[in-house]
Structure formats: C-alpha cells, structure tokens
Symmetry: C2
Subunit: 143 residues, 2 copies
C-alpha cells in the first residue's frame, strides 16, 4: 500500500499527538482526571488565584467551555472560587485539589520521562526546539 502521508510533517505531527494523548489519558484515567481537567488543575496549582479568563488564554480553551470544566472541578471539591471583583473570581486549589495536583504532576513527569527515554539520544535535545518551531509555524501560517 502506498502511504501518501509518510513525508508530510503535518500528518505525522497529528498521528504522534494522537498517540501521545492516548498514552497520557490512559495514565490520567486511574487518578480520575480527563486531559483538559488535568491541564486546568496543573495551571491553577502553579498560579493560585488565577482567573478563568487567564486559563482560557493560556490553554486556548473557549470561555464557554471553561465554565462547565471548572464547575466540575469545584463540584468535586478540588477547586474553590474566590471573589476578586464583581465579575472575576480567583481560582485556588483546595487541600484535596492540591493532593490531586501533586499526583497529576507525578503522572505527567513519569509520562514525559518514559517518552524521552524512547527517543534516540542524539535526537533528544532537538525535540522541544522542533516542536516549538512547528507550533510557531502553524500559528504563522494561520495568519
């Protein structure tokens, strides 16, 4: 069979990403987190008091989709909202959220370490630069 995609960076990028997400999600499931939830939890954990609108910008998740996402974390007692002013709320982790955030970080680190371990030694220092260049290139091409 002829593979018309083998030489296409865009296609290989996508397949790599999907495969990576699959592996990562499999590690998140046992600790009760979806992918998007984990990114929100980690970002609040690293930035106590962050507002939803900052999460939206940093994670490129739409406002309208962030609302139920955060609401789920609040409902589970992982995050609480602090009134900042009449329209903004600062998000912080509860103790329970802190614990889960620490666990999530462990999971992330294990995942990333296992991935890196599979990358040939001479390529490892190229991984982040190449990915950042691709990200930037895609953004440029979009404009």
């Amino acid at each position: 069979m002829i593979d018309p995609f083998a030489e296409l960076p865009g296609y290989v990028l996508r397949r790599a990403s999907v495969s990576m997400m699959e592996a990562f999600k499999a590690r998140l499931a046992p600790i009760g987190l979806r992918y998007t939830e984990s990114t929100v939890l980690l970002l609040i954990g690293a930035n106590a008091g962050i507002r939803q609108s900052d999460l939206v910008t940093a994670l490129a998740i739409q406002r309208a989709n962030m609302t139920p996402l955060v609401a789920r974390l609040v409902a589970r007692g992982l995050v609480s909202k602090l009134r900042l002013d009449g329209r903004s709320q600062g998000l912080v982790l509860t103790d329970k959220g802190q614990d889960l955030c620490t666990t999530a970080r462990t999971v992330v680190n294990a995942h990333e370490a296992d991935v890196i371990a599979q990358i040939p030694l001479d390529m490892r220092d190229k991984v982040l630069p190449v990915l950042r260049a691709l990200w930037q290139a895609a953004e440029e091409v979009s404009n």
Copy 2:
C-alpha cells in the same frame, strides 16, 4: 504567570498539532472537505481498490466510524464501491473524486510548504525524524 507546560514535549506536541490542524482545516473548508474526509480521499486516490478495512488500519479510524465517513463520500459522488467478494468492497475514486483528490493534494502541498518555510533552515531536516521518533515513542509507551 507560571507556565508549567513549557518544557513538556507532550504538551507542546499537542498544542502544535491543534494549531496545525486549525490551519489545515481552514484550507480544506473552501474545497468542501473535512480533515478525515481528506485523508480517506487521498488514501483511496493513492491506492485504487483499497478496502475499508485497509483504510481503518492505515488511518487508525474505527470501523464503525469509517462506514458513515465513506458513505458520505459515496453519496457525494466522489467514491464508488466495487464488490470484491461477498463481504469486502474495493473503493475507487469517481472522475469527480479524482478531480477533488488532485485539488486536495494541491492544498496539502501548499500547506506543508508554507509550514516548512516557517521552520528555521537548520532545523528543517530534523522535523520528520523528530516527529517519527515521537510517534514511535508514544506507541512504545502505550504498550
């Protein structure tokens, strides 16, 4: 704001992929193709007579999801099914499908060329090797 994801290949891989897909989809929309449809069309175009089960393997799309996808292309007069045996059908492009496939290839090539043009010269030959290594690494980690 502290960005806990900046050094994580898995995260940057995903953001790059999402951004790349967004740019690509924007180019496909004017020719009336979704992303998954374009991959199916291109793969049939490169492999006349291919069976659905081969598409499923090559593109990592589930059987159950391939059925309506192919059905849409057939309904649009882009693809036709040839009986191979009682349970398999060979897929081929119609003339209309051929034309659209050619157009899609042009779109893909323009997209990839524009992306590559944004990658610093000294990094270009690292892009595919790094992406393939990441794809493979993710597959390994999943097992």
